[in-house]
């Protein structure tokens, strides 16, 4: 399609709705890769993306893991940040003032070390009117129950979602871990427990070794694998979850370009999150948004929602 043709075509509707919040387009950052929004403000207009998703918040500040915390792998990276964050109080005091100035929905990603902590953070989020929705990260070990990860056990996942749902007066997105045998079981459990939307996937657990020092390349030994390497696993899991639940799904994992985001939309994600790609190109989300719009124009689609779940089997 040449430039002239494009001008006469109506721009497609790009806005989507997730868990009752309206987004101007389906592209937002993935938690932990975009700081608290402010860090990327010099590089892109935060009012052009669908939403801002914060670094994972906890009740108390968390120091995170020893270093080195990151290592590059083939088309991916491992990270073991250890959920370092300022804590909910400092977030409200130091990070919200900036976020309040931005006319874009803010989604607060959060977690706890125990069931109770999850519940407490949820309550605290109610006090922040400018938070549009909360995203519950259940890929965390339950300190009290011997460190088993909440999100790998449908019962534990259901329990934490139920408690948070009770305490939270905002839309609730639950973010799933891919390190499970059957993600549909966990997806069903969290939907039944009250999730308004599901986000998947978080990182795959991986490891890398420096053959010269013979030490793990990150201090925590294992870390979370993200980036384009994991995209096929993420697309598969989003596809499975979409077929299982009726709440909207947010697709995450290895999105670098518009065509990657489109894969997720086509298998049925209602929106996408971009993680590692922000590090590679700080304005990548704008390129992705433009690319999706362009694709709609090229294919004669006047509403991006027509793409969602348009997979032909």
């Amino acid at each position: 399609m040449n430039e002239l043709d494009k001008k006469v075509v109506k721009r497609p509707n790009m806005s989507v709705e997730i868990a009752g919040i309206k987004l101007r387009n389906p592209v937002m950052p993935a938690s932990g890769t975009f700081g608290y929004g402010e860090e990327y403000a010099p590089f892109l207009d935060l009012e052009e993306i669908g939403a801002i998703v914060t670094k994972g918040l906890s009740l108390k500040p968390k120091a995170g893991n020893p270093t080195p915390r990151i290592a590059e792998t083939t088309s991916g990276m491992l990270n073991a940040i250890g959920l370092q964050n300022v804590g909910i109080d400092a977030f409200i005091e130091h990070k919200m003032p900036f976020l309040r100035t931005v006319n874009t929905p803010v989604i607060a990603n959060f977690f706890g070390n125990t069931l109770e902590e999850y519940g407490e953070v949820a309550k605290r989020l109610n006090d922040i009117p400018e938070i549009a929705a909360a995203e519950l990260n259940i890929s965390c070990p339950n300190v009290k129950q011997g460190g088993i990860v909440f999100g790998t056990d449908p019962k534990a996942a259901s329990e934490v979602v139920r408690l948070v749902r009770k305490n939270l007066q905002k839309p609730l997105i639950v973010k799933l871990t891919p390190n499970v045998t059957d993600i549909t079981v966990v997806a069903r459990a969290v939907e039944e427990a009250g999730a308004d939307a599901i986000a998947c996937i978080n990182t795959l657990t991986g490891m890398s070794v420096d053959i010269h020092t013979r030490k793990p390349r990150i201090a925590n030994r294992t870390g979370g694998l993200s980036g384009p390497a994991i995209r096929p696993v993420a697309v598969r899991m989003v596809h499975q979850v979409v077929q299982t639940v009726s709440v909207p799904v947010i697709g995450i994992g290895g999105i670098m370009r518009a065509m990657d985001a489109l894969e997720f939309l086509i298998v049925g994600a209602s929106a996408v999150q971009v993680g590692t790609a922000n590090f590679v190109d700080p304005a990548v989300m704008l390129t992705i948004i433009d690319g999706i719009e362009e694709f709609c124009l090229d294919e004669g689609i006047d509403d991006v929602r027509q793409l969602i779940g348009s997979l032909k089997l």
Binding site: G32, E39, F43, K55, A63, I81
Partner: protein
């Protein structure tokens, strides 16, 4: 600070395994401070996935072409080929498209010209000291540079430093250039001579540790530029933290080296923890 989608002006090997790359970057120079760095995107396609951090060697502008176009402003980096990313960089040519994000981080702090300014650089660690030396000289400070390296090949840009008007002292482990031995021995002698000096350093971690110990002994202020693995370079990923002084398990203090650093006042760092980090590769900014 901004993302430049730009082009390489030149890329030359200046010593075996060391390259100097000029990159077109309008308006970069006026924002850059000594000790700051850039995140460099080697090529638009993979690999590598992540950008690579490099210290700013200098900024400047090429004289206007005869075609009457305005002068070309550039940023220049000096890098050592160590792994996948720098190997690809070594193959780049004039005109190749690259991206850089910068200037990033907090550089060196130099307000007064009181006392001698002693700069201690090891290998690729000399890079950020060049711009610092230039600015100190411009302010009228007296600058002495202690250059250390394994062999003569690791002693970079001597002529450039001398041209600035910096007093240079060279030492190599193998004695192939300057005096034989460690640059830290030279530092000790200089501090005896100039007890009111202020020290600025960059280099491999073992060297930095010794420099820190010596400066503590001699009670002179020290600023050190560190090198941590980085993913974002802008404070968003928290991958690049170092332990701050007084860090404990119960009361942890992690400082983002891309945002608070890469240059730190020595007393704010947890040197016991840094010293352990023996994986740290040579060179920093």
């Amino acid at each position: 600070m901004k993302n430049y989608r730009t082009k390489i002006i030149s890329n030359q090997e200046i010593s075996p395994g060391y390259f100097r790359m000029k990159i077109l970057a309008p308006d970069f120079g006026e924002k850059a401070h000594p000790g700051q760095f850039i995140m460099f995107r080697v090529q638009r396609s993979l690999p590598p996935l992540l950008r690579r951090p490099f210290g700013i060697f200098q900024t400047g502008s090429l004289p206007a072409d005869c075609d009457g176009l305005p002068p070309k402003e550039f940023v220049e980096i000096v890098y050592k080929v160590v792994g996948s990313g720098t190997s690809i960089m070594a193959e780049l040519h004039e005109g190749d498209r690259v991206e850089l994000l910068g200037p990033l981080g907090n550089g060196f702090d130099y307000t007064s010209c009181e006392g001698e300014k002693i700069l201690v650089g090891g290998g690729i660690g000399l890079v950020p000291l060049y711009m610092l030396a230039g600015e100190l000289i411009a302010k009228g400070c007296s600058v002495r540079l202690l250059m250390g390296g394994r062999t003569r090949d690791d002693i970079l840009a001597v002529t450039e430093f001398e041209r600035l008007g910096v007093e240079t002292y060279i030492s190599t482990d193998d004695g192939s250039l300057g005096e034989g031995g460690l640059v830290t021995q030279v530092l000790e002698r200089k501090l005896q001579e100039y007890p009111d000096a202020e020290v600025f350093t960059c280099g491999p971690m073992p060297m930095l540790s010794v420099v820190h110990d010596i400066c503590t002994d001699y009670k002179v202020p020290l600023q050190v530029s560190l090198e941590e693995s980085m993913a974002c370079g802008v404070g968003a990923c928290l991958g690049c933290v170092v332990k701050g002084a007084g860090h404990t398990e119960e009361n942890p203090s992690y400082l983002c080296s891309c945002k608070v650093g890469p240059v730190f006042k020595s007393q704010y760092l947890d040197w016991a923890a840094l010293g352990q980090n023996d994986d740290s590769c040579g060179g920093c900014a």
